[in-house]
Amino acid sequence: MSDPVTHLADVIREAAARKRALCIRGGGTKDFYGGEPRGDVLDTKPLRGIVSYEPTELVITARAGTPLEEIETALREKGQQLAFEPPHFDYRPAAPSATGPGGLAVVSDAPQERIATLGGCVAAGLSGPRRAYAGAVRDFILGVRIMNGNGEALRFGGEVMKNVAGYDLSRLTVGALGTLGVILEVSLKVLPIPASEATLKLAAGPDEAIKLMNQWAGKPLPVTATAYRAGSLAVRLSGSASAVSAAVKKMGGEAMDADQAARFWSDVREHRAPFFAGDQALWRLSVKPTTPPMDLAGPQMIEWSGALRWLRSDADAGTIRGAAAHAGGHATLFRAAHKTVAAFHPLSPALESIHRRLKAAFDPAGILNPGRLYPDF
């Protein structure tokens, strides 16, 4: 049996020769995201394991198929974390719903347990509540090893904090949904877990909430997450115990119990909060943070100091995308039972032609995850 990377190169070369689409897949937890996956499944799970982890260098390197949880556990043991708080979106059948009448386990149509991998995390480029304060996945990428559409393994970036040798192609793979190459290995900057944390809840209307979040972000306060939904604004503070307690005194509001707060933020991150339940289309609007409450049909939830608006709506895509563009940003059809429009906001013609040329530079045969990012490349 050849090693997984050699095997991958063989599969890719053969697919390129036959122009057969490959669907790059780790745990499959982000299958819902972007355009519909198609093609022969190329499983990245055999590329597994932490290659190196140096807590004093603040750097971890792991293979793409490594479960995100394995990485987070290794970091936690050394008091460190992935500061961008990646969502896993792994489905774990809860005990009651996995049990049929008479207490028999329902196996047939229960979704499989899915485990998020590092490669999927980078390819999807999604970050959690801490993003507006600590940075996104792309901000923590130090280097990648990828395999391009010709089956060549390429290394860009490295395992050091500062590196300007060559174009920044490691960041280019973040959020590219595998269209530029199969991610083989990733090096990430990691940060210490803050010594202390507190979550406050305040009652506020949407205008006031957006204003408050932006005011806090402009002050030297240790804010690491904000979320607003239906009259209730939650803010998380993280840092040294003294800094957190000083900020709590300044900001007011009601402190949440620590366990409850941890669950609250993980439910926001993992879309387990009630707002995310049900089948109605979920839109993700990334906008200028000071944008006032957006006048769109359907409930909204606000994160990232106002820069992220989640919307449950059956409104027409053009209306939603127009509103997001007007607010200095863009809208993604994040989840929907049937996506009748492209998941991602259309690009300007000038940018689209650059995207096509970049795609062709990495994957001339167009076999890697075609249609995942944009319908026709």
Binding site: T56, R155, F156, V160, K162, N163, A243, A246
Partner: protein
């Protein structure tokens, strides 16, 4: 660094043609070509390389930039963009057959949005001018390269500049939101957004650090951060370089992310102390500066912890800055390291490798061996927090062979950085200076990918040609002498 080539003679007929075209839409004073007018543009901060440009264009509007690019593109005239000219890798070295496009007149701050904490600025705005403009609102622009008094934000984008505070606050790529970029065809691209992310590929990251090879930045929207309430610095002296290196690791292991973390070896502290009188001990092997910033409560806590770690790591002395004046004095020495090197030696050559922090003791030991081998002195300053090492090789260009020995010394340091798992450039860029070492850091398919990315923006290779990414042919030539990690890098290419 490679031996500077002979200056290229200007093709006068071509020059006349380009000047007359540019003068149709630019005032005569904005199109320079007389020898004495173009001479000041012959080099950037890397003065060992000089070439006068055929023509210098000084546009004032984005439309003029686009028009210059369009006309040059139509005539296949190469274009080199230049900001303040402070770059240290020759990225803005002009071409004798090309136009030097200076963004020096783009010095306006267009808009500051205090509630959203952003500033929209022209590319020629000085880095420090942004922080100065917003200081009254308690905000600042975080990346602070040592040249921040003079360097321009457009140049910072081209080089992905860092600075002393980048371990905590990030590089340019982490602190910008949006760019307007003119392509070689003279079209404008809007990259990034007022939001935190954009659809599609991360072209904002790709553009940052691309050394003027993909487009010309005409506008930058930067993120502004709340200015920390308070800052204090611990100065720790060590009688052993190994212990100082361990202290760096121990601070990080204690869960501290210092706002600034610098190391200087004895050669550096001696040079600096004579020059800046910062109060460094010159009888020790290394001095560390470790800064904490944040709220008063946070800083008090963290400084106590840093001091404790330094002491348990074997510091012979630790001092905490007692007031702002003393904090600035401690930093003044480190910030004067380059001029101080200039004061004790006729010439110095500044290197810019990054290494895993834990290898610093070993790397400095091997640099000391190289000092003997090449018969040259080297002072080392080190951004300890992020592993970015700046060896300053001291030499006298008037001594026959000294420049060549310096170049060989520098090349060996860069390749040592690669050997220990680092990179040839942390923040100064490749430019023309480190182009040969790119052949050592990257394989042929990797370099080919860089070229393909360049072609996606600039099919004919007219923007800053010859910089940043070496041709495979050049690497084959260079590779004859360099077999790296026991592997030949370009096995498929013919050797000459």
């Amino acid at each position: 660094m490679t031996a500077p080539a002979e200056q290229i003679a200007i093709d006068l007929e071509r020059q006349r043609e380009v000047v007359s075209v540019l003068r149709t839409f630019l005032p005569a004073a904005s199109v320079l070509f007389a020898q004495e007018d173009v001479k000041p543009y012959e080099c950037d901060g890397l003065t060992a390389y000089r070439q006068v440009p055929m023509v210098v264009a000084l546009p004032e509007t984005e439309q003029q930039v686009c028009r210059i690019l369009r006309e040059c593109h139509a005539r296949k005239v190469p274009v080199v963009a230049r900001g303040a000219g402070t770059g240290l890798s020759g990225g803005a070295l002009p071409l004798g057959n090309g136009v030097l496009l200076s963004l020096a007149k783009f010095t306006r701050i267009l808009d500051i949005d205090y509630p959203a904490r952003t500033a929209r600025v022209q590319p020629g705005v000085r880095n420090l001018a942004i922080s100065e403009a917003v200081a009254g609102h308690g905000l600042f622009y975080a990346p602070d390269p040592s040249s921040q008094l003079a360097c321009s934000i457009g140049g910072n984008v081209a080089e992905n500049s860092g600075g002393i505070h980048c371990l905590k606050y990030g590089l340019t790529v982490h602190n910008i939101l949006r760019l307007r970029v003119a392509t070689i065809e003279g079209d404008i691209l809007e990259i990034g957004a007022d939001a935190l992310d954009s659809p599609g590929y991360d072209l904002l990251a790709l553009m940052t650090g691309s050394e003027g090879m993909l487009g010309v930045v005409t506008e930058v929207t930067v993120r502004l951060l709340p200015k920390p309430e308070y800052a204090q610095v611990v100065m720790a002296s060590f009688d052993d370089m190994g212990k100082a290196g361990d202290a760096v690791a121990n601070v990080i292991a204690a869960g501290i992310v210092p706002a600034g973390f610098e190391m200087m070896d004895q050669a550096a502290t001696r040079a600096v102390e004579g020059f800046a009188k910062a109060g460094y001990r010159t009888d020790v092997a290394a001095v560390l500066l470790c800064e904490s910033d944040g709220t008063h409560e946070e800083v008090a806590d963290e400084i106590r912890r840093i001091q404790h770690v330094m002491e348990t790591s074997g510091a012979v002395q630790t001092q905490v800055s007692r007031d702002e004046a003393e904090r600035l004095r401690f930093w003044a020495g480190r910030k004067a390291a380059f001029p101080a090197a200039g004061a004790i030696s006729p010439d110095y050559y500044c290197m810019d490798g990054t290494i895993p922090k834990k290898r610093v003791g070993e790397v400095l030991r091997r640099i000391a061996e190289m000092e003997k081998k090449y018969g040259l002195r080297c002072a080392n300053v080190f951004h300890a927090g992020d592993g970015n090492l700046h060896p300053l090789i001291l030499y006298d260009a008037n001594q026959p062979g000294a420049l060549e020995r310096t170049e060989a010394f520098g090349a060996e340091i860069l390749e040592l950085c690669l050997d220990v798992g680092g990179t040839i450039t942390g923040e100064h860029g490749v430019g023309v200076e480190k182009i040969n070492q790119m052949c050592v850091q990257f394989t042929s398919p990797e370099l080919e990918t860089f070229h393909a990315v360049k072609r996606a923006f600039d099919r004919e290779g007219l923007l800053n040609p010859g910089k940043a990414v070496p041709s495979l042919h050049r690497c084959a030539e260079y590779g004859r002498m360099h077999v790296h990690r026991g592997q030949e890098k370009f096995p498929d290419l013919p050797r000459f």
